[in-house]
């Protein structure tokens, strides 16, 4: 039986992601863990997160999990979700500038204020709700997910990778922004697959069967 570790570092509620992983692949052993050994023992690792980046990085640095995640990023399938994606960049402009894990070279930036759509309506921040995800390249995690499927988002910051080659998908609000990153054995998404109904469960299922090869 293969196993997946969901990293528990005190940032928010892991109930949804654990239930969704169990639902997506009942044959996989899903564990919610905070100690390094258990994370390093698992076949795959999910790095979730909600809230503010400063609290997130503080929790990861104090617990020593920063180094563990950086190690996982070198050798086994890793899925970053929402704040867990943002934390994988070099730094974030949230909380007056916060150094992050630097798995992906690049920055996390805030949506510009007072954005308007083509009809002149103000676009609200956070970007909240179901938006279309445009896949840029084929990838094992996009398997059986139709192009431009809608996933559930809730965020005010987004990733700007230095290297466009790591961009796996974009969404529009109103301009295109990067909503998924892929590099070797690491995949990261800004949206919440655990809250995105059938397509979200499919992405989690794909991850739970992924060998980390592209």
């Amino acid at each position: 039986m293969s196993s997946v570790a969901v990293i528990d570092y005190g940032m928010g509620n892991l109930h949804s992601i654990v239930k969704a992983l169990q639902h997506a692949a009942p044959e996989v052993d899903v564990v919610c863990v905070s100690d390094a050994d258990a994370i390093l023992r698992a076949d795959r690792v999910v790095f979730p997160g909600v809230g503010a980046i400063r609290d997130c990085m503080q929790a990861l640095n104090q617990s020593g999990l920063s180094a563990v995640i950086q190690q996982v990023a070198k050798n086994k399938p890793l899925l970053g979700i929402c704040l867990g994606m943002q934390a994988l960049l070099t730094d974030s402009e949230e909380n007056n500038g916060t150094p992050c894990l630097d798995v992906f070279a690049g920055h996390v930036v805030h949506f510009p204020e007072a954005l308007k759509d083509s009809d002149g309506n103000i676009l609200k921040i956070p970007h909240m709700g179901w938006n279309q995800v445009h896949q840029l390249h084929p990838h094992p995690l996009w398997e059986n997910i139709p192009q431009d499927s809608r996933f559930y988002f809730v965020h005010s910051y987004y990733a700007q990778p230095d290297d466009a080659a790591v961009m796996a998908a974009t969404s529009q609000y109103p301009d295109a922004f990067t909503c998924a990153l892929a590099q070797d054995n690491v995949f990261a998404v800004q949206f919440h697959p655990e809250k995105s109904q059938a397509v979200g469960l499919q992405l989690l299922k794909n991850f739970l069967h992924w060998d980390g090869q592209v």
């Binding site: 928010g12 509620n13 609200k124 909240m128 709700g129 179901w130 469960l201």
Partner: protein
């Protein structure tokens, strides 16, 4: 290609059963919340909101069990409101599988609670529910005030100012209910919805008064709401969520189909 407007069915839950008063008459039993949530999920609901109206404190565990059960098989965002007064109440709901909580009266009696809740759990899960009623006489510029206790108790607080204040305290979303329209099936209070939606930077969910599918579309187009919430038109299978979305799409609104 852009963000879809959301349709959110709301389940009023009393002692573990879905109930809904129709046109102010008696509360009708609409069934098992888990069963109904499953159906809404299948029909394409974008989120589901549970409003716990259980009067007695002792029976409040029932809503926790409902949320736990729904969250283990329905993978869309779930919001729980009604009786959320402490950080511990919020923690219990999130641990049960809710993604957001709705705070109403507790925000009015103690606005700092919203700030503490947003700091502790993140703005993304804090929905401030506002019950507003028009207080300006006919012919004068419109003015709405906040009412608590199911619309019975006036507070003297201006609704637009209150919405702005709640956002500055960390509310991630506003659930706006018109107490003049709630239960009437005459449609949303569109001027109120528009006034609040244009006054705040966060998404606004319009609620109160939906009687037909055009009302939902009006809430988005004229009320400028980001999402629309309705209860009775979906419970008794008058319309399915899918029909509502098809209708909204036919009026040029972007929806998740």
């Amino acid at each position: 290609m852009s963000l879809a407007k959301r349709i959110i069915p709301c389940l009023d839950v009393d002692n573990g059963r879905v109930v809904k008063g129709v046109k102010f008459v008696d509360i009708r039993d609409a069934g098992d919340p888990v069963e109904i949530a499953r159906r809404y999920d299948r029909e394409g609901a974008d989120e589901i909101t549970f409003l716990d109206i259980t009067a007695t404190h002792d029976n409040r565990d029932t809503i926790v069990h409902v949320v736990e059960q729904v969250a283990s098989e329905v993978f869309i965002p779930l919001t729980v409101g009604g009786g959320i007064r402490t950080l511990e109440d919020i923690r219990r709901m999130l641990n049960a599988g809710a993604d957001k909580v709705g705070i109403n009266s507790a925000a009015v009696s103690n606005p700092e609670f919203v700030r503490e809740a947003a700091e502790r759990f993140g703005s993304q899960c804090i929905v401030v529910a506002i019950d507003a009623k028009k207080v300006s006489p006919t012919g004068e510029p419109s003015r709405w005030e906040i009412f608590t206790h199911g619309g019975r108790k006036p507070t003297g607080i201006d609704a637009i100012e209150w919405a702005k204040k709640m956002v500055s305290y960390g509310a991630g979303e506003i659930l706006l209910t018109s107490m003049d329209r709630d239960g009437t099936r005459e449609g949303f209070d569109l001027p109120l919805t528009r006034a609040i939606s244009e006054a705040v930077t966060v998404p606004v969910i319009a609620s109160g008064g939906v009687g037909c599918l055009d009302h939902l579309a009006d809430g988005i187009i004229e009320g400028k709401a980001d999402a629309v919430l309705a209860a009775s038109i979906f419970h008794f299978a008058e319309y399915t969520i899918e029909q509502a979305k098809q209708h909204m799409a036919s009026r040029g609104i972007e929806v998740r189909l």
